[in-house]
């Protein structure tokens, strides 16, 4: 039953369906740029066989190295560019890439490679390996766009794409946007009204300041980092035994709320335990590298899983800080990036000196761990000192394996260096029992990332400091790109997990470098940096799509409008709890077990979910117990990563299953019930009640038409509902009703509230 209006709308949808895409506008004219135009083509199509991996190299030809490629590359086809001849060839025996390789160049790609070769095939070092230089922002002649350099760069891109920037979003939309982005929750109706009325020049800036100062800020920003840090409350293999790492999670929230400078944030998490006079907090920060999965399966071989633990730390370092797929070099030289297998194991050696056993204990923390003082996080000064973890003791359980004694719930896992480093060897094919014992490898980093004259860091602390040295080409780029992704839905480098040769070229390379140098100029002040993003005119545009902008730039690469972003599962749940008044404001503590579908754990495992009660049902979603093998379905259903491995980007797609969750899940129904109570309490007039509820949820007032529809629906639902049905509905959820209202009146209003919570504009942030 699709309504007439809907038919009409869908037809309009067809009319304005995007036709063209602005892409490679730059590439079709002028001199080809190696980094922007050529490298992506060569990397995608050629490097797997003619790139850095010596073992896979065909015909002894290397196209990633200018010195080796020059002889076969530069020049016109007729003048002897063998590569171009082969690329243009139609002869299946000669053609490159060869037929059957599943690789091919488009006509345009062939042409641009030809032009590049004809101009002498000038190579450039991969852009992301060159330390950023601060560019001068282009001049701006547009009111409102001339104050913030971010806008200067963005405006230039918009103009070059033949577009116009959008007008600012209306104030309510902007407030909801910035609130959801900074603290993960919508504004209250009172805040919306105040902000709309406050015409002073710094009204927005003051709101931003308030949000940045809120404790909710650290909670919200922690969410993404928990996914990067693959934080969970269980070990993640097989029986998925429990662990206790929430103290680390609370360290994270505190660090974000206290606006710890990003360089310090990195150093403490990578090597806080090795800092001179390390504090307990700095030691706890290193739990970051203990959040990986730990196997405790019966029959597992400790030596094998020791290697997996270290490999995970390397993979996480690569993805989270370097933006490189270093783990590709575990089994062979990297196919695209200049990272050899040997270098991989030099990086491996950085993390291979932890006094750990390889297997987990079967429930409880795996050594090394430390006892957390009882009054954490309130420490007296003498408590805030690093504690040396006890050496682990093993116990034998017959017929299984030797296991370490577990750490109790009052412990937290940390990093620690062994006095005698564990020798690291290159592992043939990456397999634990095939070490190449001809050479002991010492801790280092891939040479390509070292600047001229720079010494390779030789231990974890040096590694951490090297990561945040101002000339490091990657760490700051990766970080600011992830912040950009947070506020705009996609990074300036779309592949935020890969800045290597196969990663995407930045949509705005100069802006990226300006942001990086700005971040460092601000002494890695995260809040100041994020403030400059949300203060920009770019950020404050409306998200309304004009046909031309949609047609020319459907992906919104040029940001001639603000993106509409779908809220995460966590945000949707938190929003519903907040709007209904159910949300508990309490920072940190043990993970909690809110509503979960019955039998979810029990049906597939031997674990039992013991649902919490009272306040535990209404804590923010980041405190929800995270069982890696059976994560909360409403979060993973909305694309939340499962925390098995480090993830810095998740698709945000939509599915009919989302509709089922939002319509029928107990969380949203209970919230609707409580929201209805609020609506009924607003006024004695039903229309006022509806308007107040709608405004609370959407931050806007319904149009006259919408108001009519809302009221008519409410009356229809009410007329069709008997008292028994109403009472049955009102049983949903454990929070008792706090109203004297008639059951039918309350239940029908709750269903109206449920409908409002299902609106597209509520699921999205405009």
């Amino acid at each position: 039953m699709i309504s007439k209006t809907l038919h009409r709308i869908l037809s309009i949808g067809l009319l304005i369906a995007p036709m063209g895409v602005v892409s490679r506008v730059e590439a079709t004219s002028g001199a080809p740029s190696y980094n922007r135009d050529i490298r992506p083509i060569l990397s995608e199509n050629c490097f797997a066989c003619h790139g850095p991996d010596g073992n896979a190299r065909k015909a002894e030809l290397r196209l990633d190295d200018p010195a080796e490629a020059a002889a076969v590359l530069a020049g016109e086809e007729s003048a002897g560019s063998e590569v171009i001849r082969r690329i243009l060839s139609e002869d299946p025996d000669e053609q490159m890439p060869p037929p059957g390789s599943n690789k091919s160049l488009t006509v345009e790609e062939k042409e641009i490679v030809r032009r590049w070769a004809a101009s002498g095939a000038p190579y450039e070092q991969h852009w992301a390996f060159i330390p950023p230089q601060r560019p001068t922002p282009p001049p701006v002649y547009r009111k409102g766009w001339d104050a913030n350099p971010i806008d200067a760069f963005i405006l230039r891109g918009i103009r070059q794409a033949g577009l116009q920037p959008s007008p600012p979003a209306d104030r309510a939309t902007l407030l909801r946007r910035v609130s959801l982005d900074l603290v993960g929750l919508p504004p209250t109706p009172e805040a919306v009204t105040l902000f709309e009325a406050d015409t002073s020049e710094d009204a927005y800036e003051r709101v931003v300041e308030e949000l940045l100062d809120s404790e909710r800020y650290g909670e919200h920003m922690a969410q993404g980092w928990l996914e990067v840090a693959r934080y969970a409350d269980t070990d993640g293999y097989q029986n998925d035994r429990l662990r206790y790492m929430h103290v680390w999670r609370d360290w994270l929230i505190e660090a974000l709320n206290d606006n710890m400078p990003f360089d310090q944030f990195v150093i403490e998490q990578i090597a806080g335990d090795m800092l001179p006079d390390a504090t307990l907090r700095q030691q706890i920060a290193t739990g970051f590298n203990r959040n990986h999965r730990i196997n405790s399966e019966n029959g597992a071989i400790p030596a094998e899983w020791l290697v997996e633990n270290v490999a995970d730390r390397v993979d996480t370092l690569g993805t989270a800080f370097l933006g490189l797929t270093v783990s590709c070099a575990r089994c062979h030289d990297h196919k695209y990036d200049p990272i050899s297998q040997r270098e991989y194991y030099q990086l491996f050696a950085q993390f291979n000196n932890v006094p750990e056993w390889g297997l987990g204990p079967n429930d409880g923390n795996s050594p090394p761990f430390i006892e957390v003082p009882k009054d954490w996080p309130n420490l007296v000064p003498e408590e805030d000192r690093k504690i040396t973890p006890e050496p682990y003791t093993l116990r034998e359980i017959k017929g299984t394996a030797l296991r370490p004694e577990p750490g109790s719930p009052s412990t937290v896992m940390v990093m620690e260096e062994m006095a005698e480093p564990r020798p690291t060897y290159r592992l043939n094919r990456g397999v634990y029992n095939e070490p190449d014992k001809s050479e002991v490898l010492h801790a280092a980093v891939p040479a390509v990332l070292l600047q001229a004259g720079e010494r390779a860091p030789e231990n974890r602390l040096a590694l951490a400091r090297w990561l945040v040295s101002p000339t490091h080409p990657l760490t700051a780029r990766v970080a600011v790109n992830r912040y950009w992704q947070h506020f705009f839905g996609r990074g300036l480098v779309r592949s935020s997990e890969n800045f290597g040769l196969q990663g995407n070229y930045p949509s705005h390379p100069e802006l990226l470098d300006w942001l990086v140098t700005e971040f460092i100029r601000l002494d890695w002040d995260v809040k100041a940096f994020q403030r400059s993003i949300v203060m920009s005119a770019t950020y404050r545009q409306t998200s309304v799509l004009r046909p031309r902008s949609l047609e020319r730039d459907p992906e919104n690469r040029y940001l001639a409008r603000a993106p509409r972003l779908r809220l995460s599962g966590q945000q949707l749940r938190d929003q519903a709890l907040f709007l209904s008044g159910l949300l508990m404001n309490q920072v940190g503590g043990r993970p909690v077990k809110p509503y979960m579908p019955p039998g979810l754990w029990e049906s597939v495992s031997n674990a039992t979910y013991e649902q919490g009660t009272g306040d535990e049902l209404y804590r923010r979603s980041l405190y929800t117990y995270w069982r890696r093998t059976t994560p909360p379905p409403m979060m993973t259903g909305f694309n939340s990563p499962d925390r098995d491995v480090c993830m810095v980007r998740a698709a945000k797609t939509s599915s009919p299953l989302h509709a089922l969750t939002l319509m029928n899940n107990i969380v949203f129904l209970e919230a609707s019930r409580k929201l209805a109570e609020r609506m009924l309490a607003e006024s004695d007039d039903v229309e006022q009640q509806i308007v107040a509820g709608f405004h609370r949820v959407t931050a806007r007032y319904p149009s006259r038409d919408e108001g009519d529809h809302l009221l008519a629906t409410l009356l229809d639902i009410r007329d069709g509902m008997d008292e028994a049905a109403a009472r049955a509905f009102l049983q949903i959820g454990e929070c008792p009703p706090e109203t004297e209202a008639d059951p039918v009146e309350l239940a029908s209003m709750a269903l109206l509230a449920s409908a409002i919570l299902n609106l597209d504009e509520v699921i999205m942030r405009d």
């Binding site: 869908l10 949808g13 579908p597 319509m663 509905f729």
Partner: protein
């Protein structure tokens, strides 16, 4: 819709526009598990249109069920030579045993069907469908512990984060049904209710978008999470609510212009239809008595293997692309003879019934049925070898599976193992080869079904996989 990814479905959206104005509902099917337009799939004429994968979790003992080794009876209690079974591939559960005595199967084998396929007495019903089966005795894998082994079999990698087989299928081919997902997963447990646990990643979508993950059909509460309206809300009320939501959304679309809004409207409509189609699917009142004679009385009871087999047929009938059952409880380190017999009692009849049922309905030709676990079990006894009792540890270097229908050669036994059922001696089939072959039967070239992630074109078969032409 997708704000982050470049939307590969822009054409699909235009198509949706047409369909909603009267061209037909078929295009809507792509909403729940949208096949990617960019794949140009299938690559070749498919032999199979759908798959039912009967996953036997824990590692069934191949020499007690399929891999007949009469010669072992005479070697009972002898040590398995280390030349056959090297020490470094034994798990720490048995590696420190002082001896590794041969434990011949307690069960007798008979030949079945025209091909004379040898099968254990524990599988009488499977024996009746022997001429439909291709029994592969030469499977081998790389991992020796459950988690990495089952993750490897399901996703082609021991390290988590890759899409499962079914997710690849959903991504590549989409669904044939507008109201049901392309990929459904179910599980059941053995008699003692135990068994090794399962994990969401086994039917997960890995780095593919979440809509390709298997929709888990559940044994208790709502069959599909949150499919049922809450108490007190009937279908008319739900319709009224949806009309309101859709109307306001449509109005917003006129202002905001985001093509994701018509998408969402269509998705809410589809969710509404699913609320009808799923209960219809699980309501067995339209099944004649003969169904339960075929599958066994247990098929009436949700949560049993037999029920799930019957459900698999009903899903296949409705065009679901990939149905995967997981039956737990095959991990027989001890008391194997008793526990294996119980497992077979729970599964043999229904597995065979499913194949017969598909055949009777003319669906076996284009439905591929696969039966098998994540690895095999050791020929040596784990623990003490007793007269009627023994246990077996994990064993990756050979195990048995069977396939039927969907273009598989029927009545065939493929591959050989040595006298001890330890190593493959003829026609080895690696897990990647199995994946390549399954994809091929679905019309997919395993080297061409790729997804770019972290700058690399990933595939189910990694950089390996060889089509096993002999069995198709």
């Amino acid at each position: 819709m997708s704000e982050i990814m470049p939307d590969p479905r822009i054409n699909r959206r235009a198509f949706l526009g047409r369909s909603a104005t009267g061209v037909g509902l078929a295009a809507l099917s792509s909403l729940l598990s949208p096949a990617s337009d960019a794949r140009a799939l299938p690559h070749a004429q498919p032999k199979a249109r759908r798959i039912i994968y009967l996953f036997q979790s824990g590692g069934p003992a191949q020499m007690d069920l399929f891999d007949y080794k009469p010669g072992l009876q005479g070697r009972r209690g002898e040590g398995v030579p280390t030349s056959v079974y090297p020490d470094d591939r034994k798990t720490t559960m048995s590696a420190d045993q002082s001896e590794f005595p041969v434990a011949p199967s307690k069960y007798s084998f008979q030949q079945h069907g025209e091909s004379g396929m040898w099968l254990s007495e524990l599988l009488p019903h499977t024996g009746k469908i022997a001429d439909e089966l291709c029994l592969v005795k030469s499977m081998y894998t790389e991992a020796i512990n459950h988690d990495p082994a089952i993750t490897f079999l399901q996703t082609g990698s021991q390290i988590p984060g890759r899409p499962s087989m079914g997710a690849w299928m959903a991504y590549g081919l989409g669904s044939e049904n507008a109201d049901l997902p392309a990929f459904v997963a179910m599980n059941s447990r053995g008699k003692d209710g135990g068994g090794q646990p399962l994990y969401d990643r086994l039917w997960g979508s890995g780095f593919l978008p979440a809509e390709y993950q298997g929709v888990k059909f559940r044994n208790q509460g709502d069959v599909v999470l949150d499919i049922e309206n809450p108490p007190g809300v009937d279908r008319a009320t739900r319709r009224r609510m949806l009309d309101l939501v859709n109307t306001i959304n449509a109005g917003r679309y006129e202002i905001v212009g985001d093509p994701g809004i018509p998408d969402r409207i269509a998705q809410y409509e589809m969710a509404y239809r699913m609320q009808m189609s799923v209960p219809d699917l699980t309501d067995l009142s339209d099944e004649p008595e003969s169904t339960f004679a075929l599958y066994g009385e247990a098929a009436r009871k949700p949560g049993t293997y037999a029920f799930n087999c019957l459900m698999a047929r009903r899903l296949a009938e409705r065009g679901v692309r990939f149905v995967q059952l997981f039956h737990q409880g095959w991990d027989h380190h001890g008391s194997l003879p008793r526990r294996l017999a119980e497992q077979c009692e729970d599964t043999d009849q229904a597995s065979a019934a499913l194949v017969l049922d598909l055949k009777q309905r003319g669906m076996l030709d284009d439905t591929l049925v696969v039966w098998g676990g994540e690895f095999g079990r050791t020929v040596y006894c784990q623990g003490k070898l007793e007269k009627d009792n023994y246990g077996r540890d994990h064993h990756p270097s050979c195990f048995s599976m069977w396939l039927a229908g969907g273009g598989i050669r029927p009545g065939m036994t493929y591959g050989e193992t040595d006298d001890y059922s330890v190593n493959v001696t003829e026609n080895p089939v690696h897990v990647h080869d199995l994946h390549a072959t399954i994809l091929h039967l679905m019309g997919i070239d395993h080297e061409r079904l790729t997804y770019k992630y972290q700058g690399r074109d990933f595939r189910l078969t990694d950089v390996h996989g060889r089509l096993v032409r002999d069995i198709i």
